[in-house]
């Protein structure tokens, strides 16, 4: 049987890749993918913990998270469409109308 720590290593790697992706990538769509990575990292953790503790709570939760992630992507894509209509770009570095 694969030890629990392996799952945690995989999920932590995914989480960090997603986090770094959000912080350094410029393209809005790539950032959306990175967000999905972060959510799925949490899913892996939940399912692994649930499997090792013998309770199904975590697996139920991960199914809800998949649904939420889909809704989130829908809203993100809607916002990027109205941005693209106005500015013809998906580069988040060009959002500089407001600065302190």
């Amino acid at each position: 049987m694969i030890p629990l720590s392996y799952y945690i290593v995989v999920s932590t790697t995914m989480f960090v890749v997603g986090l770094v992706g959000i912080l350094i990538r410029k393209n809005f769509l790539i950032i959306l993918f990175s967000i999905e990575l972060m959510l799925n990292a949490a899913n892996i953790n939940l399912v692994a913990f649930s499997h090792y503790s013998g309770k199904v709570d975590g697996q139920v939760m991960s199914i809800f998270i998949i649904a939420v992630a889909a809704a989130e992507a829908a809203i993100g894509l809607a916002i990027i469409i109205i941005l693209f209509r106005g500015k013809a770009t998906t580069n988040v570095d060009e959002m500089d109308l407001m600065k302190w």
Binding site: A42, S53, D57, V60, I75, I79, L83, M95, M98, W100
Partner: protein, 483 residues
């Protein structure tokens, strides 16, 4: 073994069911109403909220735990639900004129506000990591749409993108924290987690520390605490003004209500050294918020930094981790919601055709031509600073008192010093309103809805300051569940 079909008492979420169904009805009705008559849907939304408020009456005093312990209904939840319904109604009242001026008088606007309200109302009831996450997402997603609602305005779209990205990042981080919390305790129910944490004495286990750091980071984004605040000024500036008011009142009230329940149950705040992290965040938040607010020339940005500072004061109650501290958070949240809504109502008044009116200089001389507006703004400013007889004073009294009783003298001193700093920038606005010459074409966009919103927020700010006993008693009774 639990029975296969658990006993579900739907009455526990009766207000939310009613509001969600009526919001769906609004979306259906929207397609049958002509563009010029869309404000009928606003009245419909007000009616829906009134009905929801009525439906909370039979629930007072009840203690229900349902959906396998996922949703609880107690006086703590009802306290916040009532406040959130009122906040949402004020937002809709102040939107009537604004949406016409900005040409976003679409029915969906009111519908999405109602859905955000449903999410907010579920948040203080959430007693399970799953229901907490889902209600948080329902609120956040509705707010992403609302912030970007002026889709022809580049600033609104930009702030929508900024809010979406930071909001989703925060959700992802909270979710990862939830996963670790679940891994530590083996359950998603907050009550069971609380029992587990207290009996196992694993306060310093690495996975619990990881969960705490992730959760405080995620919540830091949601309540705009330093160093996770950088989205707030931009989003507040670009979003439609009523939505900005909704962000700074409704979403903050709801986020704090659920933060209290999650943190108190999941981390034994009285023992251990969790308070050190919270202490640093609170001090940074109030100091930076107040200092940067001094330099702002835009009203909405100034109020954004002031709202950051207020999140810092609120965290004091969580650091003290006592009955009076938690009650202080509840009292201050309600008072803060009304006073900040009032200040935003004054900004909405300035908005007219082809004129956004979000500079401090736009307020020049307003108090001379409209003495009532000037007086109410002074009242809100006094309350935001924390001077009696206003709601802000009562809340701050409780929070500072809690900090001193908990032995956090420096925290209280820094808080008082910060309140003094805030006096400068609020009264700079008051000075502009009274001393400067009014502009030639100064005209406030008054409407019946605006008058009710301004009068109600001013009345509540004063009432909670002059006669705070009922709310104090309600708050102190409600937080007994955490002790």
């Amino acid at each position: 073994m639990d029975p296969i079909l658990p006993d579900i008492q739907l009455i526990a979420i009766l207000p939310e069911i009613i509001l969600a169904l009526l919001a769906c009805g609004l979306f259906v009705a929207e397609s049958f109403i002509q563009r010029e008559k869309k404000e009928q849907l606003g009245y419909y939304a007000i009616g829906a909220l009134a009905l929801t408020l009525l439906s909370t009456i039979p629930l007072w005093g009840k203690e229900i735990s349902t959906f396998s312990g996922m949703v609880v209904l107690d006086s703590y939840a009802l306290f916040f639900k009532t406040a959130l319904i009122l906040i949402s109604a004020i937002i809709i009242l102040m939107s009537f004129e604004y949406v016409k001026i900005e040409r976003i008088n679409l029915g969906e606007y009111y519908g999405v506000i109602l859905f955000a309200t449903v999410g907010m109302m579920l948040m203080p009831s959430a007693n399970d990591l799953l229901s907490f996450y889902l209600s948080l997402e329902l609120m956040s997603m509705s707010l992403y749409v609302l912030v970007a609602f002026m889709r022809k305005d580049p600033k609104s779209v930009e702030s929508g993108i900024k809010y979406f990205l930071t909001g989703v990042l925060a959700s992802g981080i909270i979710l990862y924290g939830i996963a670790f919390l679940y891994g530590t305790s083996g359950t998603t129910n907050l009550g069971e987690i609380s029992v587990f944490i207290k009996t196992q004495e694993i306060g310093s286990s690495p996975s619990l520390i990881m969960a705490f750091i992730l959760m405080i980071t995620g919540f830091g984004f949601k309540i705009a605490a330093v160093p996770f605040h950088m989205w707030a000024p931009d989003v507040y500036e670009g979003a439609p003004t009523p939505v900005t008011a909704f962000l700074s009142s409704g979403s903050k009230v709801a986020a704090f209500s659920v933060m209290l329940r999650v943190f108190i149950n999941s981390f034994d705040l009285n023992s251990g050294s969790w308070w050190q992290i919270l202490w640093i965040i609170a001090v940074m938040t109030m100091t930076l918020g107040n200092l940067v607010a001094l330099t702002q020339t835009k009203l909405k940005r100034m109020l954004a930094y002031s709202s950051i500072a207020h999140a810092g004061y609120l965290l004091m109650g969580l650091i003290a981790a006592s009955q009076i501290g938690y009650a202080g958070i509840m009292i201050y949240l309600v008072g803060y919601a009304f006073m900040t809504l009032g200040a935003f109502t004054v900004i909405v008044l300035l908005c007219r055709k082809n004129h956004r009116g979000d500079q401090i200089s736009d307020l020049a001389g307003v108090a001379r031509t409209n003495p009532f507006v000037g007086l109410t703004f002074i009242l809100f400013a006094l309350s935001l600073i924390g001077i009696p007889p206003t709601a802000g004073f009562v809340g701050k009294l409780f929070l500072f008192n809690a900090a001193i009783q908990g032995g956090f003298y420096w925290l209280a001193i820094i808080g008082v010093l910060n309140s003094t700093v805030s006096l400068y920038y609020y009264f700079r606005v008051v000075r502009v309103m009274y001393m400067d010459e009014p502009a030639e074409d100064l005209a406030l966009s008054f409407s019946p809805g605006m008058k009710i919103a301004l009068g109600f927020t001013a009345g509540m700010t004063l009432l909670l300051g002059l006669y705070p006993e009922p709310i104090i008693r309600a708050a102190i009774d409600s937080v007994k569940i955490f002790l």
